[in-house]
């Protein structure tokens, strides 16, 4: 019984540590990567994985079902919302033409797609062209 608690504590600590490291790597990417879109992907993927590892570690250390449920809720909403945020950032970046240093190799979105999904507000200029 007691050994199991110690094992769970140990694994929990390792998960907490690795989650923190993964989140840190995401932040370093956020600072060092060159443009909006790569930075945005650095801000979402490692952060989500970091949250996942952190909550798993916390769950192993708390070991109560109600807390595990709450943590599962945290993970659920994290998984659901961070792609949406990343998508909005990417969409704005594309519409304002901030898609990296050089011109785009190709842009399938250049002419179409906007009227069907956007529909709101005035049309921006032909952004992100090659």
């Amino acid at each position: 019984m007691n050994t199991w608690h110690e094992v769970a504590d140990l694994i929990g600590s390792l998960l907490l540590l690795s989650g923190a490291l993964v989140a840190l790597s995401g932040v370093i990417g956020l600072l060092r990567l060159p443009d909006v879109l790569t930075r945005s992907s650095a801000a979402t993927n490692p952060q989500t994985l970091g949250i996942l590892l952190l909550t798993a570690g916390v769950a192993l250390r708390l070991r109560s079902w109600v807390d595990v449920g709450t943590l599962a809720l945290v993970v659920f909403f994290q998984l659901l919302t961070s792609p949406v945020a990343a998508h909005l950032v990417a969409r704005v970046a594309h519409r304002t033409g901030q898609t990296g240093a050089g011109p785009l190799l190709r842009d399938d979105l250049a002419g179409q797609g906007r009227q069907a999904t956007g529909g709101e507000g005035p049309e921006p200029d032909g952004s992100g062209t090659g």
Binding site: G26, T44, A93, H94
Partner: protein, 195 residues
């Protein structure tokens, strides 16, 4: 969490699964399943559903445990892989930036829910960022970095299709799964129209 009753529109009427789900969240947020939490949760959920009615959404949702497990496993693997990619790239010093591209990926599924599920899953693909979703034509637009690398665009497109198949096999209806069985390459001739 939702029984197969896709034809019921969500208007100003009580949606029992939604209320149950909101109540569960309420109880978790108030730290535990007590009777007081249950009663207040049901009250709050009913009031919320009456005051803020949701638009009618065709809920063509099925929960398939094996498919969900496979999707979760693949997403976890993808997330680890993309985290490693991002870490290596950010630690690897500033390289000369390679040209990126925005590519259109036509999907095979047609329901809004499946398109959304695929779009959310796609955010985990390494090196790809979702720029736009066109629900009418079921097309995703992805920003691909390093697009001049040979086969990179094709590989990204195949990744998206694989994620789509996994997502539909986890949550889709029978009709959508049948659609997934089709060859994605059949859309190939139309894809270069934005050239």
């Amino acid at each position: 969490m939702t029984p197969p009753a896709p034809k019921v529109p969500r208007g100003r009427r009580l949606d029992v699964p939604l209320i149950a789900w909101l109540t569960v969240i309420w109880m978790l947020l108030w730290s535990g399943p007590t009777w007081g939490n249950l009663v207040s949760g049901v009250l709050v959920s009913v009031v919320l559903c009456l005051v803020f009615p949701l638009p009618a959404v065709e809920l063509a949702l099925r929960l398939r445990p094996i498919g969900i497990l496979r999707l979760a496993g693949y997403l976890l693997y993808d997330m680890v892989a993309s985290s490693i990619t991002v870490t290596l790239r950010s630690l690897g010093g500033t390289r000369r930036p390679r040209p990126a591209a925005v590519i259109a990926v036509p999907l095979r599924c047609r329901t809004d829910l499946m398109i959304a599920a695929t779009a959310v899953s796609v955010s985990c693909v390494p090196g790809g960022a979702l720029v736009e979703v066109n629900g009418a034509t079921a097309t995703l637009f992805l920003h691909v970095s390093d697009a001049d690398a040979p086969g990179k665009v094709e590989r990204t497109r195949r990744d998206v299709w694989r994620l789509e198949a996994l997502a539909v096999r986890a949550f889709g209806t029978r009709a959508e799964i049948d659609r997934i069985g089709a060859d994605p390459a059949r859309e190939e001739p139309g894809r270069d129209r934005g050239e």
